[in-house]
Amino acid sequence: MYKLLLVYKYLLSRRIALASVLSVTLGVATLVVVNAVMTGFATEMRERIRGILSDIVVEGGGIDGFPDVAGHMARIERAVGDKIAAMTPVVETFGLLSIDYMNQTQTIWVKIIGVDPVGKTRVGEFAEHLLYHRGPQPPSFDVPAPLREIERVFLQREGLVPDDWDSPSARLLPPQPVTSPSAVRGGVAPAEHQQQTDGYLDPNPFDDGPETEPAGAAATDAPLDFDHAPADASMGIVVPYLAVAYRDPVTKQDRILLPRGCPVRLVVPGSGKRPRPRFARFVIVDYFKSGMSEYDQTNCYVHIDDLRRLRGMGDRATSIQIKLKDYADAPYVVRTLRQIFPPGLYRIATWEELQGPLLAAVDTERRILTLLLFLIIAVAGFGILAIFSLIVVEKTRDIGILKALGASDAGIQGIFLGYGLALGAVGSAVGTFLGLQIVWNIDRIEHWMSVWTGREIFDRNLYYFDRIPTVVEPQTVALVAFGATMIALLASVWPARRAARLRTVEALRHE
């Protein structure tokens, strides 16, 4: 009983001890905030990745994919149909996207994803990541009439006849504007352009002779007629936002360099044992902006049928994306599908497995930060140890009095252990409260700090978050508070034992 009373009294009367616990408070607050923000980041990122990838992906056959997609889907349906909410075939390949801006041609490598917009919308988030898409209806790759008009204006302004790029000869002799249209292009200095393209046209060491590219072979390719498609039939494409936009460093406003309706050129590997490049012109119908800079740099979406025709791959698909009714079934579904589709030919994985290294990296980061911050609290523990030792010295006579009145050694030890526990609990509670307050007002605090320091703390360029994402996990907060309390308790063990061992008589004589 006297232990509780004295702990209570000491708690009220000893300000210096409260000061020592301030470091525990700050440590706990920091830990709560860091954990909430990092968990928020991770959660946000996972949600976005999951939305882009869908729950389970069945991949096979490299970039050429596997045939008989409908048959595959039927087998999946038979096996685990009751667990599946939706699935859609997808064709993924790499390619080159050439964009013209201010008379300069830039070519970047992109990931070209052929999707069925309706099916893709069902298996994951797709419409949400399109910059201009509004309304509940699924997005479409059709080029509406106004964009068509813009495209025509662009093509006229550049003096490009549609066939200039898309003709079989142009396809066989890649970007070769020097041959005829240099005069037509006008704006570009011909000599300079010549030099560039000359360098580009250096004999290809991998080119194993002229017979590999006979005009006849190309002419007999199935999608040949598609290559001849007139300009007004060019297909819609969703281009990666970061590839065509830049942020003005002064105004912080994004500027899209290529408006919708602007034509772009795409080079993709054709299908078959000996892939040949295929060229096509597309019209920008939308921009892909998910907030994950990696995807926003590289992900190009076109209609799956357009891509199949362009690459001449029939009804093949490189993967089937599956959305489950309940994600908890994922391990079962993956196991079942692995039995159906031979592992050597197909890769079946959840989105988490596909993004394993990235997610693991984020988790590792969070764990290490937590560890480091706990070390800070441990340092605070040594502060408590020092102050407690001083308090024990200061209280030596009181300890003697209590022992003279019949308090046992264990009781004396209990007073100081209880005191440490109480201080730790108070420090943790205040720290948790402080941390949660910061988490809940983090955007305001960030704004305020940015104004004060004149430096942006949270660079929204990096992640395209409008607000700092935070997720408070109650069990993490509880664990942090508990851990900090335990550190305070541990720090008081040694002083408490010292107090218990004091000899009564000498303690009483202590001045």
């Binding site: 009983m1 006297y2 509780l4 009373l5 004295l6 009294k9 000491y10 009220l12 009367s13 006579r397 009181d398 003697g400 009095i401 209590l402 022992k403 003279a404 009145l405 019949g406 308090a407 046992s408 050694d409 009781g411 010292r498 061992r501 004091l502 000899r503 009564t504 008589v505 000498e506 303690a507 009483l508 202590h510």
Partner: protein, 290 residues
């Protein structure tokens, strides 16, 4: 009791007194090591340092003999005063008798039980239940109010459950005692707000709350002016007379000591009868007191 009586007879030259003494000390010897570490058990590091120090001509401390064979008997209801010069070991003797410290050799018996070698928990309980202590420097806990300080021994003795059940009784008891010592107007003051005399009164009330058999007073008037000191002593005397409380008081003030039933002088590590006292209280077996 019977077992204790047997033990008494086993002690050589045990007196055949009619009334059994309340407290009896036999051949107490105690020496102190000056400059020693104040904790009971010493750490390994400290012991290692000791060893090194002893190799270097005993820097561990000097053995100072304090008590060289003290014999004492205290009868129930007695007011015994031990006088002596400062540094003569009066307080040490009191601490030994009150089990705050252990003698090097010798025995202490209380109500037929040997108490100098009791296990720590039993000794703690004995102190709490049978002994009351009043110190020269009052030794009140500064964080607690007067009332809480007085109830403190009961806090120490009982747990939380009993506290909830009996706290009103305890506080009532404490109020009565504080009234008895004349502090009823200071119940909720902190010790630092009180004068020396008031603090000592509070300390006496605290010593009485557990209804002790034996009260140890270590220079209770040492820090007080003569008038206040006399008041305190009169309070102790009144408790002794009215309630039959046995008191062992240590003082160096002869005038105050003259008021006690019996006076002993601690001289050169031994107890001798105070020469100018009217009564002779003797601890030697040859002269039993009665």
């Amino acid at each position: 009791m019977s077992e204790a009586a047997l033990r008494w007879q086993a002690v050589p030259s045990a007196p055949a007194t009619a009334a059994e003494p309340l407290l009896r000390a036999i051949g107490l010897v105690k020496s102190y090591r000056q400059g020693a570490w104040p904790t009971r058990r010493r750490s390994l590091l400290r012991r290692g340092l000791d060893l090194l120090g002893r190799l270097r001509d005993g820097a561990d401390g000097i053995e100072v003999p304090v008590l060289l064979g003290v014999d004492l008997e205290v009868q129930p209801g007695e007011f015994l005063c031990i006088v002596g010069q400062s540094g003569s070991g009066k307080s040490t003797l009191l601490h030994l008798l009150g089990t705050l410290d252990q003698p090097d050799t010798g025995e202490i018996w209380f109500e037929g039980r040997r108490i100098d070698r009791m296990p720590p928990r039993a000794r703690d309980r004995l102190r709490n239940e049978a002994f009351g202590f009043v110190f020269q420097l009052y030794h009140l806990l500064p964080e607690l109010t007067v009332l809480e300080n007085v109830v403190l021994p009961l806090y120490v003795r009982y747990g939380l459950l009993q506290y909830w059940r009996y706290r009103r009784v305890w506080y009532q008891h404490a109020r009565v005692l504080l009234e008895r010592v004349g502090l009823e107007h200071r119940l909720h003051h902190k010790p630092r707000q009180l004068s020396g005399g008031e603090m000592q009164r509070a300390a006496i009330a605290r010593a009485l709350i557990a209804d002790p058999t034996l009260l140890f007073a270590d220079e209770p008037t040492g820090n007080l002016d003569p008038a206040t000191g006399l008041e305190i002593l009169e309070l102790l005397l009144a408790l002794n007379r009215e309630q039959g409380l046995t008191v062992i008081m240590v003082t160096h003030d002869r005038e105050l000591a003259a008021l006690a039933d019996r006076r002993l002088r601690l001289h050169a590590g031994r107890l001798v009868p105070e020469p100018d006292g009217p009564q002779l209280g003797v601890a030697s077996p040859a002269q039993p007191t009665g």
